[in-house]
């Protein structure tokens, strides 16, 4: 009901003010969403940040968005229509929009484009992403301490570097505090499918996992864990605080608002340039949601110490000695992984028994 009234209000505002609102705003910012803001995860956080950004500029910036845009030929059309509708800057918020974003950008050289989680840029296309793996390290640390069965279930979306990095980071830090820990990975091949995600969570729990990590966007795994009772989870992309203090014991929150404000400000100032942004805990793009009392005080303390060390740059989650899954050497003692390797990471670290599907 809340959501419906909200939508109605938005729609009503758009109708009442009509074209005039478009003329008054100095800049129109468009957003292309892979899901709906109601997913409670990835798109929800992008939409929250869109609202914060719009509020920050107090009428100077108008935002428009389109939800549920598939990563297919439809994406290119949706982005083009948004550019024709008069958007000055367009944020395309999923990896699969990469080639369509570049194709449209070529046709609209005066419109600025911002593509999330991709790697292709041009004069009017920037890329931005967050170092989610920093948050994964904290999750792995807590998970390793908390598991009693030593089995940790991981619901993965697609075998892309971002997801593989997360699995590696969580595994390394779980293993560090609990050498007996084992990871089972389920590849769901979706970012958002509550039914599939719930099935995956239940299957993992039945196989003895008492910690569920997820790299998918819905709260369905949280609900499945709650049902099972003695299982803990972590919020993904969004705080998912509805499931705190148990099963959700902490979370990774994507906070895009500061970035969106900075980029739109740059358009207002005429200083926008194509950049590649990859921010983490240090700038606040990655936030760690409250660690609840379900976690013992000393574990919470050490987890927070890790957050602090990552924030100050004192510690990097991928620090040697680390071997690759096949046993070959990757990082020597004290060596820190370079960003290029991490960006294209397509291998597991030693100890993970799952195989990356292809």
């Amino acid at each position: 009901m809340k959501r419906r009234t909200l939508l109605a209000a938005v729609a009503a505002a758009a109708t009442l003010t009509g074209a005039s609102a478009w003329a008054e705003a100095e800049v129109t910012a468009g957003f292309i969403y892979i899901g709906t803001p109601g997913d409670g995860g990835w798109t929800y956080e992008h939409d929250q940040s869109r609202r914060k950004m719009e509020a920050h500029f107090d009428g100077k910036v108008k935002t428009i968005f389109q939800e549920n845009v598939p990563e297919s030929a439809d994406a290119e059309r949706a982005i083009t229509q948004m550019a024709i509708a008069g958007a000055d800057i367009i944020f395309t918020t999923s990896f699969g929009y990469m080639d369509p974003t570049l194709a449209v950008a070529e046709k609209f050289p005066n419109v600025k484009f911002e593509h999330a989680t991709g790697y292709k840029r041009s004069d009017n296309v920037s890329t931005y992403s967050a170092r989610f793996y920093e948050g994964r390290a904290v999750q792995g640390h807590i998970a390793g301490h908390m598991t009693k069965t030593n089995k940790i279930g991981y619901i993965a979306s697609f075998p892309i570097p971002e997801v593989i990095r997360g699995i590696n980071s969580a595994y390394i830090h779980a293993k560090k505090v609990n050498p007996d820990v084992e990871f089972s990975v389920v590849w769901a091949y979706t970012w958002f499918d509550p039914a599939k995600e719930a099935d995956a969570a239940r299957a993992l729990i039945e196989n003895g996992a008492d910690v569920i990590l997820q790299h998918t966007d819905s709260t369905a795994p949280q609900a499945a864990a709650k049902e099972a009772g003695n299982v803990i989870t972590f919020g993904q992309a969004s705080d998912m605080a509805d499931y705190a203090p148990h099963p959700r014991v902490s979370s990774i929150i994507d906070n895009w608002a500061p970035y969106y404000i900075a980029r739109v400000q740059a358009v207002l100032d005429g200083s926008w340039e194509s950049v590649d942004t990859w921010d983490g805990i240090d700038t606040g793009m990655v936030e760690i949601g409250e660690i609840t009392d379900a976690v013992p005080a000393e574990v919470k303390e050490s987890a927070l110490a890790m957050v602090e060390a990552i924030r100050t740059g004192e510690y990097s989650p991928f620090t040697g000695p680390l071997n690759k899954q096949d046993g070959s050497a990757w990082l020597a003692e004290g060596e820190v992984a370079d960003l290029g390797t991490l960006a294209g990471m397509s291998f597991y670290v030693e100890g993970i028994t799952d195989e990356i599907p292809n």
Binding site: L7, A11, A14, T15, S72, G96, A343, G344, P357
Partner: protein, 361 residues
């Protein structure tokens, strides 16, 4: 009291009228829905049905896009209509569409980076074969073991989706893609790209093929003995058997044709508007085409118009989201209404409404 009375023969007037009535009813109820969501219903209906064709701001781009969106819908729906007329229910065109795209794209990518003009025709052949082969699974299971083609073809969609995910992140993955899923982009491969034949018209080979399929289906049903056999099998299976129609061959022909056309649609899409095999490459064309086939009364010309109408609601719906802030789910509801009202008004083709006299006690 009102009651329905079966007509001795389907009313021709109602058969022709019911799609128009369904569109009108959809506009009225959809308009009410939009106004409950706070949007001006007239503006919303105008944005959906008028702006994509006539708006000075958008039509330059959206008019060609109507053809791009309608092309695969029409091509698949024509194939489906052949089977539906014979009472053979291929619900898995989505899977055949995916397999056509994978086989066709795979055949082409195996020859990368050759610029030979023969690559595209070769891909088309493999695309058609891929879709055909995928449809042969339910066809053979039906003819040999008597399984239900509805279930088998539908289940194979999910198998195809898994193969698609595997192709995009594995055997068809772009070797220069830094480990990210997705094949090479055909748009960057000169001769092989299925681009616009005439600039800014949206006309690519897939749209041309859709028009050819419409004409082909028209000839099949009005001039060809096979078309007659198909209709006979659908209307009176026993009579068809007595007159020497081989039901096995009809099943193989119908499922094969619809599979091959869906596979071709997939290939045109992957080599053209989509550009690459991605995990989410399939956008539901195979399922939407079922609606298009019925909206067009399984008639080739009807399907052509229905495909264009469906494309219009898609693109108009996107504009309504963009310009009026109407939520995406409301647009899907709007499209669903179209089929619902069509089925509802369809009742009057076979039945008429009668005022029943009060029975005297």
């Amino acid at each position: 009291m009102l009651r329905l009375e079966k007509r001795p023969e389907p009313s021709r007037a109602w058969v022709a009228l019911s799609p128009l009535l369904a569109v009108a009813l959809t506009m009225i109820v959809g308009g009410a829905l939009f106004s409950m969501l706070g949007a001006n219903p007239f503006e919303a209906i105008r944005t959906i049905f008028w702006d994509p064709i006539f708006s000075p701001q958008f039509s330059g781009f959206t008019r060609p896009q109507l053809l791009v969106k309608a092309g695969p819908l029409i091509l698949i729906a024509i194939g489906l209509s052949i089977g539906f007329r014979a009472g053979i229910w291929n619900i898995g065109a989505e899977g055949q569409y995916i397999m056509g795209a994978i086989c066709g794209a795979g055949a082409g990518l195996a020859l990368y980076p050759s610029e030979s003009p023969l690559i595209f025709p070769l891909m088309l052949l493999f695309g058609a074969l891929g879709g055909w082969a995928w449809a042969m699974i339910p066809a053979l299971l039906k003819t040999k073991l008597g399984t239900n083609e509805i279930l088998v073809s539908l289940m194979l969609v999910y198998v195809a989706e898994t193969i698609l995910a595997s192709a995009a992140s594995g055997f068809l993955r772009n070797p220069d893609g830094m480990g990210f899923p997705g094949s090479r982009n055909f748009k960057e491969w000169g001769n092989v790209h299925n681009g616009e034949l005439i600039a800014n018209t949206g006309l690519h080979w897939g749209v041309v093929a859709a028009f050819i399929a419409v004409i082909g289906a028209y000839v099949l049903f009005s001039r060809h003995i096979q078309g007659f056999n198909i209709r006979l099998t659908g209307d009176a299976p026993r009579a068809a058997r007595f007159s020497g129609v081989n039901p096995t061959r009809i099943v193989l022909f119908c499922l094969g044709m619809s599979g091959a056309l869906a596979g071709m649609a997939g290939l045109f899409e992957v080599a053209g508007p989509a550009g690459q095999i991605t995990i989410d490459f399939n956008a539901g064309y195979g399922f939407t085409a079922i609606i298009v086939a019925f909206l067009g009364r399984l008639n080739p010309i009807g399907i052509l118009l229905a495909g264009l109408l469906m494309a219009l609601t898609y693109i108009g719906g996107e504009l309504a989201q963009l310009m009026l802030g109407v939520p995406g789910a409301a647009i899907q509801l709007f499209q669903g209404m179209l089929l619902f009202f069509l089925l509802a008004t369809d009742v009057f083709s076979n039945y008429r409404l009668r005022l029943a006299k009060k029975e005297v006690a």
